[in-house]
């Protein structure tokens, strides 16, 4: 009998954990900052990761408004990293472009030098 009571209590403790998620206001703010930063370096909606981030951010806000706190937190956390990835991808692209331009300039200079 005691072990049955214990098991039931344990089950309640476990299930209760899911319901007591606090409202993830701070996480939504972080996601918003990440989105703004990605846009600031020039990321646009045509980038799949940014569009994904924006979509999840909006879903997270809707979930928060509906009181589904855990869902809101998970979506917002994913949106934050999606936006960070979009930003990082764009910065990599820019760096690679700079490398290509310099390689071209160096190649042109080499040719000029050989032509002398």
């Amino acid at each position: 009998m005691n072990s049955a009571r214990f098991s039931v209590a344990l089950l309640f403790v476990f299930l209760a954990g899911c319901a007591s998620d606090p409202a993830p206001h701070e996480q939504l703010r972080l996601s918003e900052v990440a989105l703004a930063q990605a846009r600031a370096v020039g990321a646009g909606e045509e980038q799949a990761e940014l569009a994904l981030a924006q979509g999840k951010y909006e879903q997270a806000r809707a979930a928060l408004a509906a009181g589904r706190h855990k869902e809101a937190r998970l979506l917002a956390e994913q949106a934050e990293l999606d936006a960070q990835l979009a930003e990082a991808q764009l910065l990599t692209q820019k760096s690679n472009k700079q490398v290509a331009e310099l390689e071209q300039q160096v190649g042109a200079l080499r040719q000029q030098l050989e032509a002398l």
Binding site: L85, A88, T92
Partner: protein, 270 residues
Amino acid sequence: MSGRHAFPFALLALALLGGCATTSPEARRALDEAQAELLAIRTEPAVRLSAAKDLERAEESLERAERFSSYLGSEEDVLHYAYLSRRYSQIAREHGAQRQAAERVAQLEKERERLQLALSEARLITAEQQGEWLEEQLLGQATTETERGLVMTLGDVLFDTGRAELRASATRTVLQVAKFLRLNQRRVVRIEGYTDSQGDAALNLELSRGRARSVRDMLVDLGVDGKRIQVAGYGEAHPVAENASNQGRARNRRVEIVFSDEEGTLGAER
């Protein structure tokens, strides 16, 4: 009787707390993918140097996902933390790529600088080897002493009609000027463009400036400090011959390089 009921409850509790066997194929795949992503980059030096924090978070998130996968009913969390882990790995990979690109940029910029130097040296040496250079020649033949100082005239033939870019044949002359300025570090110059009177006066003014700038740009390419070079365009003003004849107009289309004295004092602009 109660003993019989207690058994299934205890089993249920156990199942909730442990049991890897409950991981769904989807969750397992997400875990495997996150792990593969992390393995692919965790030993890359550029990633370790530039994204240590993201790597650490990728590992933490993966461990968390693994922990959740041993609890029943936590599929959502497994997928979530596996997703976060993959994202951290991907971000770390980008940071690594950025670091490598930055290193390459620094390397290429140095190389470009070296090549530019080598090129201007090589051009000067080529000119010397061909015996083109004699300071007296420059001072004696191509220049005239005027009230404005020493003036060297670059003729119309150095440009295509209506164009501001120097022809390749101008290189020799400009090289001489560059060499002269290298030997006479205190001297400065003003490059002045002129045209004939045909065509629109405003366009002529712009063309004369453009041609003077072309000569300046080439001198700078050849290693002359841009601060030593002034540029002016006078268009149709100050002709040296009548504009009535072809010959006269050809003489009026010119670029003049006005040299300062040895102290660097340049006559006033016209």
